[in-house]
Symmetry: C2
Subunit: 143 residues, 2 copies
């Protein structure tokens, strides 16, 4: 999505964070693949065009984007960190059959929680797990 890319590029400029060639590649990938990729998925793809790419550069870029508030780190499975260029408030559903992660809208702010009065909340996360409709259908047909 070119629009998203431009918005983020502007914000980086505003924050005096340089958008180098490689960082552009990473940002382009993230905007074009909002399906919550892993570091390795990003690396493997960009590595095809830039053979002497280092994984460290991917990590660096992702950390920079996160620090700038332009990327969200998603922690559903304990062994695979994923990244989400969509920073607006939304929830995630992970299918435990096919591994896909689906976005869904949830207005978590509409649930004021009494117990957290006096807490400073900076980040809200919601994620569900289960089986997606496609996989449910496959499972049924396999019987």
């Amino acid at each position: 999505m070119k629009q998203k890319y431009n918005l983020i590029a502007n914000e980086l400029r505003r924050q005096n964070i340089r958008l180098s060639h490689l960082r552009k590649k990473v940002l382009e990938y993230l905007c074009q693949n909002p399906n919550h990729p892993t570091v390795d998925e990003i690396y493997v793809k960009i590595h095809k065009e830039v053979p002497n790419l280092s994984r460290t550069t991917i990590y660096n870029t992702l950390h920079i984007l996160i620090k700038a508030g332009l990327l969200r780190l998603i922690n559903i499975e304990d062994n695979e960190t994923r990244y989400d260029i969509a920073t607006q408030n939304h929830g995630h559903f992970k299918c435990e059959e096919c591994g896909a992660i689906f976005d869904f809208n949830i207005d978590i702010d509409s649930f004021p929680i009494k117990e957290l009065t006096g807490f400073k909340i900076t980040d809200k996360n919601v994620y569900f797990k289960g089986v997606c409709p496609g996989c449910l259908l496959n499972i049924k047909n396999d019987n």
Copy 2:
């Protein structure tokens, strides 16, 4: 909490899962420390009483309890897995200053999500991050 322990012990018996000496220790620890401990915190404590304890045993026991549906794995930070003996639906708040994890009540089921119609949902998680009141006070006083 002795009551919780007994409930879980009964359920394990019902599922034909043996409650060995070491598993008892782990379960006792979890019931007495519902503050979402890490594997290492559990290991270090029990190791004092059982010097030739193996970390593998802790991992085994935790995996067994999770599989039996009696323990929840909590994934807030990507480098520290935590465990929660409270399996009823509730949310977590992690203070990024002191690291403490607070429970809070949230009836996530009262938010039907249209986009997930046709999905089989087996697990719902909510966690927030920020700063707890105690740490907010300390920060203010440090100025």
